[in-house]
């Protein structure tokens, strides 16, 4: 894309948007060069900060007119590079669309703009005894629009599900600039379900209706320290086998505990090979009943110390170490990679043993933090970026962990998304036919591939092509506008 096109586009944008909503100064543009994943960087061609759906739609239509790709960004906290800008494109930032438009308590729903933070919704209804259930660790900053794009999870999705289970309606701007309303009430294809988690490749959500959940009557948080990861794992299996679905089961290994200790002084039990956090919530009578069972199970599986949070403050203290674990690793290692893979819960011991072997083989340390209840691993691969070759070795270990996940029937991402970072692993998890079929959905929404191109899919086919049947060279490929693999 030539600079001249972007220059003309910037002028057109300035006519549409409020003053100060179009950024073209390179120093400013560069601050948008990456999201929460700094590994991939690209300075956006133009940044726009629209305030309404109409402005978003107008920007998208203009992008279409000039054949310029666009990428949506919320708070920029994603960990898969889903909001990585295009140097030849426009970055549409929703951080100024942050009004809570409606709170409808009788129907337990709220309508919000995409830039509203996840936690802000809960804060708006907390006094009435409600909350918004999905709780990614970055909930105080991540935007609900980003949550929709990535189908964000969180520690409590074990019991309550993911973003997609809590979205009741969307207003979206489609890749051709139409504003379309989607409702969970609508008959027809579940476009809502297809859109959530599509990582910005099917359009931009401009208004979001979320379900509000009743805050549970009782919450009990228990921290159990085990000598080893195996002990903790056995406890998790036994809890599930006992027919208990806790709100959350989180595990941290010794190295992760060390980091959290260094960062926030969480004072977890000393000498723990693994720390398990189990949170139970629901009706008081049920929670009490389940708590007795969980405590017994932890003791039987070898917990050497069990702590129970008796107050909100103590609960927060238990969670503090876990919630800050990612960033905390910065205290014990100059650099690190946050991985996000999933395995069937029963495969956890084997996969963790596999990760141990990788550590030895490559001389790279891995701290393990995971949502043990649903087998979602977050290995933190530590390395020194100043040491020659260590970065490459860490990247290899990180990739091989994903291989382990796939081998055991799991997934390459449980909640961070594929983004730009993991698109190359998609062919390991899916066949060419699988990916071609997904591409049909993409082509239905965005035949010109202008909406967040280059994300999720490794080798995006052009929509004119029939999957499986290649018919000569596509005119776009011929003209150099697209690459064919």
């Amino acid at each position: 894309m030539s600079d001249a096109v972007l220059d003309r586009l910037a002028v057109r944008f300035a006519e549409l948007l409020p003053a100060g909503a179009v950024i073209t100064d390179p120093v400013r543009l560069r601050t948008y060069e990456c999201d929460g994943l700094t590994l991939h960087r690209a300075m956006p061609g133009i940044v726009v900060l629209p305030e309404t759906a109409e402005q978003v739609a107008a920007v998208v239509r203009l992008c279409g007119e000039y054949d310029v790709p666009f990428v949506a960004r919320g708070s920029g906290t994603g960990l898969s590079g889903g909001a990585l800008p295009r140097t030849d494109g426009v970055l549409i930032v929703t951080s100024r669309m942050r009004r809570i438009l409606e709170i409808d308590m009788p129907n337990r729903r709220a309508v919000v703009e995409p830039g509203v933070t996840n936690l802000a919704i809960t804060e708006a209804v907390r006094e009435q005894g409600y909350y918004y259930a999905p709780d990614p660790s970055s909930q105080q900053v991540c935007s609900i629009g980003g949550n929709v794009a990535e189908n964000a999870g969180g520690a409590h999705c074990l019991k309550y599900g993911f973003t997609v289970n809590h979205i009741l309606g969307l207003e979206i701007v489609t890749p051709d600039g139409e504003i379309v309303e989607l409702s969970a009430l609508d008959p027809g294809y579940d476009l809502l379900g297809a859109f959530v988690g599509s990582e910005g490749t099917l359009g931009i959500a401009t208004k979001i209706t979320v379900r509000l959940s009743r805050a549970p009557e009782a919450v009990t948080t228990l921290l159990a320290a085990f000598g080893s990861i195996e002990g903790g794992g056995a406890a998790v299996s036994a809890i599930i086998a006992a027919g208990i679905v806790p709100a959350a089961i989180e595990m941290m290994d010794a190295l992760a505990v060390e980091a959290a200790e260094a960062a926030v002084g969480c004072a977890y039990p000393e000498g723990a090979g693994a720390v398990l956090i189990v949170e139970l919530d629901g009706p008081r009578a049920e929670v009490e009943h389940q708590f007795t069972a969980v405590e017994r199970i932890c003791r039987e599986t070898g917990a050497f110390e069990i702590r129970v949070a008796a107050s909100t403050e103590e609960r927060a203290a238990i969670w503090k170490g876990r919630k800050s674990a990612f960033a905390a690793v910065g205290r014990i290692s100059p650099a690190y990679i946050v991985q996000d893979g999933v395995v069937p819960r029963t495969a956890l011991p084997e996969v963790l043993a596999g990760i141990d072997r990788l550590q030895e083989e490559y001389g790279i340390r891995v701290a393990n933090v995971f949502h043990a209840g649903d087998g979602n691993l977050h290995p933190l691969v530590l390395f020194d970026d100043a040491a020659p070759g260590e970065g490459e070795r860490a990247a290899t270990v990180s990739g091989r962990i994903l291989d382990l996940c796939i081998e055991h029937g799991g997934s390459i991402t449980g909640e961070h998304g594929v983004g730009v970072d993991k698109s190359r692993y998609m062919p390991k998890m899916f066949t060419e036919e699988d990916l071609d079929t997904m591409q049909l959905v993409r082509c239905a929404f965005d035949p010109r591939s202008l909406s967040n191109p280059g994300k999720v899919f490794p080798t995006p086919r052009l929509c004119g092509e029939v999957p499986g049947v290649r018919k000569g060279v596509h005119p776009l490929v011929e003209s150099g506008r697209a690459e064919q693999f």
Binding site: T31, L49, V141, V264, S324
Partner: protein
């Protein structure tokens, strides 16, 4: 700008929602994460452009991001280093320069401020005119509280009952001129809790204003250290959040200063009033004070000094007092030292936002431990037209309870 400190930032964005300018504008460049990115650009060779300087200047230095950061990024250090670079490398517009000179030659000097009190009263009436000359002058005029009766404090106030400690007290430049009654209350509360209070009459500015603006604060620091060393006290109690935070930084400020200054600074036990009273433990009986209080976290107390629980604990311990939390308590009110003078626009927006949240608590009294915040929020509440709220310092509330004065003794609007 220390590249090592910059590297600590992992770009997680946890700082965004607590940053006042991000809250206002929703732009990456006006968030801590974005500013650190700009610092990195400078370190990599990009000169300080006017745009870049503008984003640094827009930072209030509230340090809410330091509290929010899970990676322990020392944004406080980074922004101070950055401001020094901006002062050195960036040429400001003439009008802006003049206002900055005016503030830096006035505020750190008690006598100059005192001389200004009468003209300032006039200024209230002249505000529309001043506003036209320069928005900063208008902001200054709007902030001025109603004239307070001067209070002369003795050099030493003796402990009531058994003496438990001897402490020094910093009176503060703005505090002593505009809120002398707060200093009187502080001295009384300390005395009632069993402290001999030493108030060196010739104490000067602690240097906070300069330090937080990227100017040289070393002279102010060494003078203050000397003053309190001579006073022979166990601790220096400070009732101004901004002063307390800068005094706690003396060792860092003077680390390259010959003459063992860093060690002498470290030896000075500087404590915020609330922090000190909780450490000391209460002895004086609390009388009932039936009043609803909204407590405002001054940034330089909550974020810079980490003092959040202590003032609440002291307030809650007063019989009959109901404490209410203010929404977005971590977000700055826009006062931020000299910020409301240099950046009157955003400061005003933040003040309005804070005033809305404060008024929403429907409390009787707003309690804050920083004169800048008190002036800023009071002015914003006056502007809102929704009726004001009495404003008091933690010390005044404690004083009223300890002396059994009743709720009506508290603060003005």
């Amino acid at each position: 700008m220390d590249p090592e400190l910059i590297k600590d930032c992992v770009h997680c964005g946890f700082c965004l929602p607590t940053c006042p300018t991000y809250v206002l504008w929703g732009e990456e460049m006006d968030s801590p994460r974005g500013r650190i990115h700009l610092m990195a650009q400078h370190v990599e060779g990009t000169p300080v452009t006017p745009e870049m300087a503008g984003h640094f200047d827009a930072c209030l230095g509230c340090m809410a991001c330091v509290t929010a950061c899970p990676s322990g990024v020392r944004y406080d250090r980074l922004i101070e280093q950055t401001r020094a670079v901006v002062e050195r490398e960036h040429v400001r517009a003439p009008g802006e320069r003049a206002i900055r000179e005016l503030v830096f030659t006035l505020f750190p000097y008690r006598r100059r401020l005192r001389a200004l009190r009468l003209p300032m009263r006039l200024a209230t009436r002249l505000r529309p005119f001043l506003e036209r000359v320069h928005p900063s002058l208008g902001a200054m005029a709007e902030l001025v509280p109603p004239p307070a009766r001067p209070v002369r404090l003795p050099p030493r106030v003796h402990a009531v009952g058994r003496r438990r400690a001897t402490v020094g007290m910093l009176v503060g430049c703005v505090q002593s001129q505009f809120f002398p009654q707060v200093n009187a209350a502080t001295a009384r509360v300390l005395a009632l809790e069993g402290c001999d209070v030493v108030i060196p009459p010739r104490q000067g500015c602690c240097g906070a204003l300069s330090l937080h603006s990227g100017r040289d604060a070393r002279r102010f620091a060494t003078r203050t250290i000397e003053t309190f060393e001579r006073a022979g006290v166990e601790a220096v109690v400070v009732n101004v959040a901004g002063c307390g935070s800068s005094m706690k930084e003396y060792a860092e400020v003077l680390k390259d200063e010959p003459g063992g200054w860093a060690e002498r600074a470290a030896a000075l036990r500087v404590r915020d009033l609330a922090e000190y009273l909780v450490e000391l433990g209460p002895v004086a009986p609390r009388h009932p004070l039936p009043v609803i209080v909204a407590y405002h976290d001054a940034c330089h107390l909550a974020h810079a000094q980490g003092v959040r629980s202590q003032p609440r604990e002291l307030l809650r311990a007063i019989p009959g007092l109901e404490l209410r939390e203010i929404a977005e308590s971590a977000v700055c009110c826009g006062s931020a030292g000299t910020y409301n003078l240099f950046q009157p626009g955003p400061a005003r927006d933040l003040g309005d936002r804070k005033a809305r949240h404060v008024l929403a608590t429907r409390a009787d009294v707003l309690v804050s431990a920083n004169p800048g915040c008190s002036m800023q929020i009071a002015a914003a509440m006056r502007r809102s037209g929704e009726g004001g709220m009495r404003v008091a310092h933690t010390a005044e509330v404690l004083d009223a309870s300890l002396r059994g004065l009743g709720a009506r003794a508290l603060g003005g609007r």
